[in-house]
């Protein structure tokens, strides 16, 4: 306070006052920035078109934004049949939907891009021929990646690409780091591979003895991978050579919880598992999804039975690194998690989001039998740990939300 008070001194020289007129065009950039700072990042974008001084003030301001303070948006299909390149984005914080006409209509993206990952506001996309690339739908910048080897019949590739890469994460934000690394879970055996920006090939990360991997996350240049046995492996990408630094043994504690489980004997219930890095913990999340049969009326008036997935419950465990075991967590306090096909993210005290909650989106589209169904993608909602309730904040008229909804943290700069 005292320091800032020293900045302005009163000049006692007599003469014409310098800024007593009230024209906004004379408003110093620092004051314009103060005003724009009161708006959400998305409200600032159109004001770049007001005049050149506003454009520079907004650009200056945008360089200070950081995606950790921005509530994720839900990326949805446009809803029009045969339009695979437009998307809608639901801005959760303001409950407003933005329509991106031809968001994906870009040379190299193909006619039907398939999203396999979302980190730092960037998507990892497979084009029609299953070639991976990194794309930012907000800045419309795309970055090529090396071709991913496959032995699929070219006729089948459009369908089989969903099995080629099932999840991709970025170790860093490509807008800020030129040497970002992409890690993928790939193939029917769910192995790991990575490439550094500029590489010409992908490098295998797992050897033949490795387990099937279920989820991956990145933090501080380290990759955490959760395998089918529920053990976690950590690799460090910091140094010149890649090091596997730690393996945390299988999740023994889960057996104890098993007996109390509501769904342990329900064959209609399947689980999806995730790793999450919060500000201080590594979390393991188990999501329970119940399948049910739903009758739908088709256009010609006949009834058809479809399989509908709905999430019922989440369990949260945190890693006790010293004792190398997982402990059940009853509350996330003010934290909010976003789970789905994206790299799992956690926020603390996020504006206009319910604290102690998990916002989830449908990511059951990798099941072989589900891909054939004409229904799906609706399992989107929020789970609150206080009262164990599930709330739905989004509804769609579509029978099949295809491509499925994805969380993305806008990063347009």
């Amino acid at each position: 306070m005292a320091e800032s008070c020293k900045r302005r001194r009163i000049s006692t020289t007599k003469g014409k006052p310098k800024c007593s007129s009230s024209s906004w065009s004379d408003l110093p950039t620092e004051l314009l920035e103060l005003i724009l700072k009161k708006l959400s990042f998305v409200d600032v974008i159109p004001f770049k078109a007001v005049c050149s001084s506003w454009r520079s003030a907004a650009a200056q301001l945008q360089s200070q934004y950081h995606s950790i303070h921005i509530t994720p948006w839900l990326m949805l299909p446009n809803g029009q049949e045969d339009d695979h390149t437009s998307r809608c984005f639901l801005n959760l914080a303001e409950n407003k939907v933005y329509k991106f006409e031809n968001a994906f209509e870009f040379e190299g993206l193909g006619n039907d891009p398939w999203c396999v990952g979302s980190s730092h506001g960037w998507l990892v996309i497979l084009d029609d021929e299953a070639n991976p690339l990194v794309f930012n739908p907000f800045s419309r910048v795309q970055i090529e990646l090396p071709l991913f080897p496959n032995e699929f019949n070219p006729i089948m590739i459009h369908f089989l690409r969903k099995k080629l890469i099932t999840k991709a994460v970025l170790l860093a934000d490509p807008s800020r780091c030129k040497n970002f690394v992409v890690v993928v879970i790939y193939g029917f055996l769910s192995r790991l591979a990575f490439c550094k920006h500029g590489d010409t090939t992908w490098t295998n990360l797992s050897d033949a003895a490795d387990q099937v991997y279920r989820d991956i996350i990145c933090h501080n240049n380290q990759l955490y991978a959760l395998d089918d046995n529920l053990s976690v492996k950590v690799w460090d990408f910091q140094g010149p050579s890649l090091n596997e630094i730690v393996t945390i043994p299988p999740l023994t504690l889960l057996k104890d919880v098993d007996s109390t489980r509501k769904f342990s004997r329900d064959i209609r219930v399947s689980t999806q598992i995730y790793l999450v890095k919060t500000s201080s913990e590594i979390l393991f999340i188990e999501r329970f999804i119940r399948k049910s049969f739903k009758e739908l009326s088709t256009e010609d008036g006949t009834q058809t039975v479809v399989c509908s997935c709905s999430t019922k419950l989440f369990y949260v465990f945190k890693l006790n690194l010293r004792e190398q075991r997982w402990e059940k967590v009853e509350s996330l306090n003010d934290q909010v998690l976003f789970l789905g096909g994206n790299q799992s993210i956690s926020f603390s005290g996020l504006d206009r989001c319910k604290p102690n909650s998990i916002y989830f989106t449908d990511d059951k589209w990798n099941d072989e039998y589900d891909t054939e169904f004409s229904y799906g993608g609706h399992d989107v909602g929020l789970f609150n740990l206080d009262d164990q309730s599930i709330t739905h904040f989004f509804d769609s008229d579509l029978e099949k939300i295809d491509p499925p909804p994805f969380w993305i943290t806008p990063n347009p700069w």
């Binding site: 306070m1 800032s4 008070c5 020293k6 900045r7 302005r8 001194r9 009163i10 000049s11 006692t12 020289t13 007599k14 003469g15 006052p17 310098k18 800024c19 007593s20 009230s22 024209s23 906004w24 065009s25 408003l27 110093p28 004051l31 103060l34 005003i35 724009l36 700072k37 009161k38 708006l39 998305v42 409200d43 974008i45 159109p46 004001f47 770049k48 078109a49 007001v50 005049c51 050149s52 506003w54 454009r55 984005f89 407003k96 939907v97 933005y98 329509k99 991106f100 006409e101 968001a103 419309r140 347009p412």
Partner: protein
């Protein structure tokens, strides 16, 4: 002509400070009010350190960059601000509610053009709470409004080269949609 400050704040000292605006109007204000203007506080401290004057009540502080109209509004705002703070010294939440209520009423009597004067004056006087409040007021006035509305509101004209604005609009087409009617 001189503007006398009314209803002295019981919690502050009775010292008065005289401010002289660029249009030669003289305002006599409570010390507590004047001290919220960091620029005035700094001048005052400097004068005291230099021992130029001994009796503070006779100090006349020139404000060559502030006109009487915005200063009068700022003084009113500042007095109310101090009053609300004093009335709710032990209840921050109550204070915020009272302040919000006052600010809402306050804005009903302020024209958009006046906001510019107020922002420039609050900035020059380095009156942080007021500057923050007026910037918030402008931000909420233009939130979710079209570019044309904003230009009209601020009396601005586009100075882009041909094609520049179109390029921006094309690149971020989604962000221009769904705004309020002008």
């Amino acid at each position: 002509m001189s503007n006398q400050s009314e209803s002295p704040n019981p919690t502050s000292s009775s010292n008065k400070i005289t401010l002289k605006t660029s249009d030669n109007e003289v305002f006599e204000v409570e010390e507590a009010v004047a001290m919220k203007f960091c620029t005035v506080k700094q001048y005052f401290d400097d004068e005291n350190n230099n021992n130029v004057t001994s009796g503070t009540s006779t100090t006349l502080i020139p404000l060559p960059n502030v006109e009487s109209h915005p200063l009068a509004i700022l003084i009113t705002y500042c007095k109310k601000h101090l009053e609300i703070k004093a009335n709710n010294a032990d209840n921050k939440k109550e204070m915020e509610i009272d302040m919000e209520h006052y600010e809402r009423e306050f804005l009903k009597n302020v024209m958009p053009q006046e906001l510019t004067e107020l922002i420039l004056a609050a900035n020059y006087l380095n009156f942080k709470e007021a500057l923050d409040f007026f910037c918030r007021a402008v931000a909420s006035a233009i939130q979710n409004k079209s570019v044309e509305y904003v230009r009209k509101f601020f009396g601005l004209e586009s100075d882009f080269k041909p094609g520049e604005e179109e390029k921006l609009r094309e690149e971020f087409a989604w962000s221009f949609e769904g705004v309020d009617e002008d």
